[in-house]
């Protein structure tokens, strides 16, 4: 419903929107980095040790980024609902 949304935002909500964009982009970046091994060619040109270090390093970087983003985006998630049945 675009007509209900303001066209421009205050600095804080603008920041939050860009953080959401970052959260959406992070898996794309991760996918790209994780697909790099496809280009590595025949077994003679690379070794398990360096490949493993690369993959686990990228993995860790993604986890750290996700951690920072989830902390920043925490307030944007829906507040816990009170359980109706209790």
């Amino acid at each position: 419903m675009p007509q209900g949304r303001p066209l421009f935002l205050a600095r804080q909500s603008y920041r939050l929107r860009r953080l959401m964009d970052a959260a959406r982009l992070l898996p794309v970046l991760g996918l790209f980095l994780f697909l790099v091994p496809v280009l590595w060619g025949p077994p003679s040109s690379h070794s398990t040790v360096t490949d493993g270090i690369y993959l686990f390093f990228v993995w860790l970087v993604l986890i750290v980024c996700a951690f920072l983003l989830s902390r920043a985006l925490g307030p944007a998630t829906e507040t816990p609902e009170e359980d109706e049945e209790k």
Partner: protein
């Protein structure tokens, strides 16, 4: 070496411990709720059922066989969780709002609460979970077998099949005891979730313990382990791009579509913040689980004899190093991985089976009002228990049929590929409003069939279900129908081949049929609800009012939710409606909430069907929607009509009020005039009488008598003038005046008026050039108006140096003459009245007239086809006389 009895005892104690944890948590949660149960930590740990025995044992075997390819199974879910903002958040939001109980429920609910789609998804899920459950049984059997490799005598009675059977039976009992003890309105199992969180910790610690042992005790720290990897036969590994991409994708999809993952991610979640934490914490868990896989594999290859099963390295490496306690710990870790997966999968699948297959069948078979008669709760619980047993029995059968010979990872991937068939319908349903039930059902069926044919049936191997001839040459010798080379695609390995074709054909059918078909109204409502999950307030379709009897609904709800819970819900609803007792009005909102509540127990489709039975109404039909729309349109029209009417009324009332005010004022004026006119008449009459009496006495000198007679004469003239004015006005008002038309110049007319009015002490400004306008009108009457206005200015202009400006303008055949003085003008409230008869402003004792001048002017101008109006805002009193240059009005009266 650990004796067999000790092993079994350890298992039993461990299971008993889990049982106790689950039991205590459930009891405490029931009493007052436990805050930490809702913490993101427990949630994240419960997600770890993704890491089953396949991860615990199989990953090492996978690494030993294919190098780093094993990480794809964990990279996919990492991406899915890191990208939680896209998909998982929406799933959880929808799941909470619609009280989704399973993945089949989600898909069926999205596609118009269609049970057909629910049944297809359920069947697909059950069949595809079968290999996976078999995998867990196989891994537990293998791990028992690993201990049996020692002294054989105590294991003599033990055959692999028997072990698997006992494990299956034990797990069935555990799952039945915990998964189906009660029917929760939200289908949440807090006790089980806690037990699984405990198991998650156990398996992580066990794997880490083996990893640390291998890196720091067998090898000499990280650098040594890296050197050993480089020296082993694992130093080089082959990246197969199609497998790398395909497996990453498949593992990522598995997070959304595996029934047990859906259960822990969506159904058991409490709020989105848990997901926010899990978005990094769960990838971290996977990271930790994968970190030591390669080192364990390398050390296993070094220390164990050639031909040892690499799937068991986690267990056999500590054994070979004579670390009995560590081996025991690892065994319990593997046991945890297997049991937690089987328990959650069995719960999820049994929910689906009972909600989408058993309940609808029962509703159909049972007589129409049976929802009121039988004990639905009991039937739901029994059907769940039987479903759990059936699911495990299927897994066991698969295990026996395939002979338990395959690598763990290969079996797991078959299962993933089957579950992934739900993906197009799910993603389409969440992001595309045009996705329809027909499209979803067709896509699912085609994907399911292709998967069965290309992957599942061949997995039994040999000649059990598909003959070797069909595998090699295709059915009836048609080569392009070979299960592993469909349409001549021979370059892909069987797994990727199956994923490729099943998902491609699935998606094609889904999209094509969605585009070609038209969704039902409920589908469209649900579609909008799902796709716009973040924009909308809850509430979908409403039930037709007044069709369902509150009492019947209460009776039915009691049978599903249990008496206490149902009564509490009804009482609360009644209270919000401001009523006492247990029977609220069956408003659409109430029915809607009740349906959601029930759908938590029996699924959306069944809940919808049950309420439909009682409510007697059908599902929302197009006619209903049209009726509602019409009604709304009518109401809107009525209200807008009312609005117009009330505006009109307000306008009329305003006009009436204005008219009334004017009338009141006029009436006051008339009274004042009567007083005035009697005074005006009386004053000359009095002097006439007095002077004529003096004359009658007759003893006056002739000059005096002459003077008195002059006064009497003047007074009679004044009287005559007054009466003339009144007569004139009445003639003008009745339109009976005779107009005499003549050619005259405006300048001459103004000259005449100025000399006639002869205002003493009034300076006159004129623009003689502009006055050169020749008129064809009644000059006498027009001059009368001018004279009146000029003499008024002379009389009323209160400036120290009174000045009158006469401005003339000609425009489109009309002439405007403005008379503007520099006095204080006429106050605003009096402007509307000055042209009325008998109008006088304030106490104008020096005004000679009777207040008829301007009224006469107005009438004259009206007769001349023009107007005279007060012109405000000119810095003094100002009047504008406007009239046509050529008098044309009422020719009959123009002489």
């Amino acid at each position: 070496m650990i004796p067999f009895r000790l092993l079994v005892l350890a298992c039993l104690i461990y299971v008993g411990f889990l049982f106790l944890v689950a039991f205590l948590v459930e009891r405490r949660a029931r009493r007052r709720g436990i805050a930490w149960l809702r913490s993101p930590l427990v949630y994240t740990l419960s997600l770890s059922i993704y890491c089953t025995a396949w991860t615990f044992y199989g990953a090492v075997g996978y690494a030993a066989r294919s190098g780093l390819e094993f990480v794809t199974i964990y990279l996919g879910p990492t991406l899915a969780f890191v990208g939680w903002w896209w998909m998982l958040r929406k799933l959880v939001r929808i799941g909470k709002r619609e009280r989704i109980t399973s993945i089949a429920d989600l898909i069926s609910s999205r596609y118009g609460k269609s049970n057909l789609v629910g049944v297809i998804v359920t069947l697909l899920a059950v069949v595809s979970a079968t290999p996976y459950i078999a995998l867990q049984l196989q891994s537990v059997t293998l791990s028992f077998g690993a201990f049996a490799a020692g002294p054989p005598q105590s294991w003599a009675l033990l055959r692999p099949g028997a072990t698997a059977l006992w494990v299956a039976v034990g797990l069935t009992i555990f799952t039945v005891l915990f998964g189906t003890r009660n029917l929760d309105a939200n289908e949440q199992h807090q006790g089980v979730v806690t037990a699984i969180a405990v198991e998650a910790v156990v398996k992580l610690l066990a794997l880490l313990a083996v990893g640390i042992f291998v890196v720091w005790f067998v090898a000499d720290g990280p650098s040594d382990i890296l050197a050993r990897i480089d020296a082993s036969r694992m130093a080089r590994w082959q990246v197969t791009p199609s497998r790398w991409i395909g497996l990453t994708f498949l593992a990522g999809a598995a997070v959304f579509v595996l029934p047990r993952m859906f259960q822990v991610i969506v159904v058991e979640s409490f709020h989105e913040r848990q997901l926010a934490t899990a978005s990094w914490a769960f990838p971290l868990y996977l990271f930790a689980m994968s970190l030591f896989v390669v080192p364990i594999a390398v050390v296993g290859l070094e220390v164990l004899p050639k031909g040892a099963n690499p799937d068991l390295f986690v267990l056999t490496v500590p054994q070979a190093m004579h670390q009995g306690a560590l081996a025991m710990f690892a065994f319990l870790g593997g046991f945890s991985s297997a049991t937690s997966m089987v328990i959650v999968a069995a719960i999820a699948l049994s929910t689906m089976v009972s909600n989408h297959i058993v309940m609808p069948l029962w509703l159909k078979i049972a007589p129409r009002r049976a929802t009121l008669a039988g004990d639905v709760r009991r039937i739901v619980l029994i059907s769940r228990r039987l479903s759990i047993a059936a699911v495990l029995a299927l897994g066991y059968t698969y295990f026996r049929l395939t002979g338990g010979g395959e690598a763990l990872a290969a079996i797991g991937l078959i299962s993933f590929a089957g579950a992934a068939q739900v993906l197009p319908a799910m993603i389409g349903g969440l992001f595309w409003r045009g996705a329809t039930r027909t499209g979803a059902a067709a896509g699912l069926l085609i994907g399911f069939t292709v998967w069965l044919y290309t992957l599942f049936l061949p997995s039994f191997g040999g000649d059990s279900l598909l003959s070797p001839g069909i595998l090699a040459h295709g059915p009836w010798g048609i080569a392009w129908l070979r299960p592993h080379a469909l349409f001549g695609v021979t370059e892909l390995d069987p797994l990727i081949h199956a994923i490729f074709w099943s998902l491609t054909l699935n998606t094609l059918a889904f999209c094509a049929l969605s585009l070609a078909t038209f969704p039902t109204p409920v589908e469209r409502l649900q579609g909008a609800q799902f796709v716009n999950a973040f924009d909308r307030a809850p509430g979908t379709q409403s039930w037709p009012r007044g069709l369902a009897g509150a009492e019947d609904l209460l009776v039915m709800s009691q049978r599903i939710l249990g008496g206490e819970a149902a009564q509490a819900f009804f009482a609360r609803e009644a209270a919000t409606q401001g009523m006492e007792g247990f029977l609220p009005d069956t408003t659409p909102g109430f029915i809607d909430r009740l349906e959601r509540l029930l759908s938590g127990s029996v699924g959306a489709a069944a809940a919808h069907a049950m309420i439909r039975q009682i409510a007697g109404g059908t599902a929302v039909s197009v006619e209903d929607l049209m009726a509602v729309a019409n009604e709304t349109a009518q109401i809107m029209e009525h209200s807008s009509q009312l609005e117009t009417k009330s505006e009109e009324l307000a306008r009329t009332a305003r006009q009436l009020r204005e008219a009334n005010a004017k009338l009141t004022q006029l009436s006051l004026q008339k009274d004042a005039f009567l007083g005035q006119i009697s005074h005006e008449l009386r004053t000359p009459m009095t002097s006439i009488r007095a002077f004529s009496e003096i004359l009658m006495e007759g003893q006056l000198p002739p000059q005096e008598a002459l003077r008195y007679a002059g006064i009497i004469h003047d007074e009679t003239i004044r009287l005559t003038r007054l009466l003339d004015d009144l007569l004139d006005l009445s003639v003008l008002e009745n339109g009976q005046v005779k107009l005499t038309r003549s050619e005259v110049s405006l300048r001459a007319l103004i000259d005449r008026a100025l000399s006639a009015a002869s205002p003493a002490g009034l300076a006159v400004e004129r623009d003689e050039g502009a006055e050169a306008v020749s008129l064809n009108t009644d000059a006498d009457r027009l001059a009368q108006v001018f004279i009146n206005l000029i003499s008024n200015a002379g009389k009323y202009c209160d400036a120290a140096a009174p000045r009158l400006r006469i401005a003339v303008r000609e425009r489109a055949g009309r002439v405007e003459v403005d008379f503007i003085d520099n006095g204080s003008g006429i106050p605003k409230e009096a402007q509307a009245l000055i042209f009325e008869k008998f109008a006088r402003l304030g106490d104008q004792s020096h005004a000679g007239g009777a207040g008829l001048g301007l009224a006469i002017c107005r009438e004259i101008m009206a007769n001349l086809g023009g107007t005279v109006a007060y012109l405000p805002g000119q810095g003094g009193g100002a009047f504008r006389v406007s009239f046509p240059r050529q008098l044309t009005r009422l020719a009959g009266q123009v002489a």
